[in-house]
């Protein structure tokens, strides 16, 4: 709470300097420095690490933009570097543990321990922005920018910790135009911050204190209550995550930036495909644009497209965390999406099924079914498989 208070005081001071003291041409530099300061509060090494990546990607962008020769090679090397770094920090622990584990059965094998690698905070989001930038420069889809404007886009402190992963073009346009917020924007910004704080710190954290222990002991609660805990657990993930997004969007608004929304009523969607289009929109659409379309979506056979849909979801889940739970989540939702697409094909072929599915009564049923489909799977965010099994048995038996 002390940190939150300190953050709010610094924020107010920052906003005052930003709008009332600095001339407009210094504002992006100020915000960039403020972002560096914010990151350095977590660890100064992160700042140096991210700056190194930014210099590299910006230089690669300049080269790709100016020189036609070997630009594909430069792009490939840059992408390999960025993805390699992300995978190293995110999955090396898993990889090394698996090696040590596999050798543990042999007595001659020396006992090896690897120092735990700490994933720099916000690294995934920064790598996603950097990949987006260099690919779009390659496609000639984004305007030239100064290093400061580019750096501000990458490190923008309100979205540093938990996104959204804004696209460069709309962000950069706002940096250039730098419109002072009107009263309505300030109101909206403050409202989103209050909403985010309430969602995250009041509702989601309280729900977590009640629900997570209860889910570990389902046998000591009535069946109906356990079912409510399952729903509550899913809603808690949404409130936690969207609360962060609300705060990020609200703070951005106070600095004159309108950042893309990350959630759009996901629990009121009629099918799993709609759900994912409205959940963590910025990252899901990023993976769609930079993984699904390039690898699976270009002049592909139907089988390859289905494989792409499945793999996209597996990758999206493994991006959250490289463990069995998230692999299972990816497989579950990947299969869900494929089955949904097959159902769509059936609707095209058989008008009777299509007409039946379009009946008004079907809509609330579809929403309820989708909510249940998602809620059950989100238990994997909290529980290992034996505990998940115990919860399901408690509800079903």
């Amino acid at each position: 709470m002390e940190n939150l208070f300190l953050y709010l005081v610094s924020l107010c001071l920052g906003i005052f300097i930003y709008w009332f003291i600095l001339p407009s041409q210094w504002r992006s530099l100020f915000l960039f420095l403020m972002s560096l300061l914010f990151i350095s509060l977590f660890n100064l090494k992160y700042v140096l690490y991210f700056l190194l990546h930014m210099v590299l990607v910006y230089s690669a962008g300049l080269y790709i933009d100016k020189v036609e020769q070997k630009k594909r090679l430069i792009l490939t090397l840059t992408l390999l570097w960025l993805i390699g770094n992300l995978c190293f920090f995110k999955y090396s622990d898993l990889f090394f543990s698996a090696i040590v584990e596999s050798g543990s059965g042999f007595s001659w094998m020396p006992k090896i321990t690897f120092p735990a690698l700490l994933l720099p905070l916000g690294m995934s989001y920064i790598i996603f922005r950097l990949i987006h930038f260099v690919v779009e420069v390659y496609k000639k889809k984004i305007p030239r920018s100064s290093f400061i404007d580019f750096g501000l886009y990458v490190l923008f402190f309100p979205t540093f910790l938990a996104g959204p992963v804004e696209r460069f073009k709309p962000f950069h346009t706002q940096t250039i135009e730098m419109k002072a917020p009107d009263l309505s924007s300030i109101n909206q910004g403050l409202f989103r911050i209050i909403l985010g704080v309430a969602k995250k710190f009041i509702v989601a954290d309280t729900l977590a204190r009640w629900i997570i222990p209860a889910l570990h002991t389902p046998e000591s609660h009535p069946r109906f209550l356990v079912l409510l805990f399952v729903y509550g657990a899913a809603i808690r993930i949404y409130l936690d995550f969207s609360g962060y997004t609300d705060m990020a969007l609200g703070v951005s608004r106070l600095f004159g930036y309108k950042i893309m929304e990350n959630f759009n009523r996901p629990f009121f969607q009629r099918n799993v495909a709609q759900f994912w289009r409205n959940w963590h929109i910025s990252v899901y659409s990023w993976i769609r644009d930079y993984f699904f379309f390039p690898f699976f979506g270009y002049r592909a056979s139907t089988l390859k497209i289905y494989l792409g849909i499945f793999m996209t979801m597996v990758l999206f889940m493994l991006w959250h965390k490289g463990n069995l739970n998230f692999l299972l989540l990816g497989i579950y939702h990947g299969l869900g999406l494929v089955v949904w697409q097959l159902f769509q094909e059936m609707k095209r072929k058989y008008p009777s099924i299509r007409k039946w599915s379009l009946r008004p009564v079907f809509k609330p049923i579809a929403i309820f079914f989708t909510f249940n489909f998602v809620s059950v799977s989100f238990l994997l965010f909290y529980l290992d498989l034996p505990h998940l099994y115990a919860v399901l048995i408690r509800i079903l038996k």
Binding site: Y138, K139, K141, A273, Q274, R277, S285, R288, D289, F292, F293, P294, G297, Y298, R299, A300, I305, I309, Q341, Q344, K347, R348, P351, R354, L358
Partner: protein, 79 residues
């Protein structure tokens, strides 16, 4: 060309049950998803003898019928 594309969308994604406005967002309204976009691109390539570059496959280039026409027009001008 526009009418043919519109007709394709209406028949395949709206099942011929209603009309499509030129500025109606295809993705936000859930008419077309990623798979639908791939089918639409295949239809355009096959029927109009155009080759759409991978770098052009972005939702924003195909979000409405007007966007689709604009994308096809700008690539025709470029070539």
């Amino acid at each position: 060309m526009k009418e043919k594309i519109k007709n394709f969308i209406v028949q395949n994604f709206l099942f011929g049950e209603r009309a499509l406005k030129d500025d109606e967002p295809l993705f936000e309204s859930g008419i077309i998803d990623s798979l639908g976009l791939i089918k639409l691109l295949a239809f355009i390539e096959e029927n109009f003898n155009v080759s759409i570059d991978m770098s052009e496959i972005m939702i924003e280039n195909f979000n409405t019928l007007n966007d689709i026409m604009e994308t096809l027009k700008s690539r025709a001008n470029a070539s």
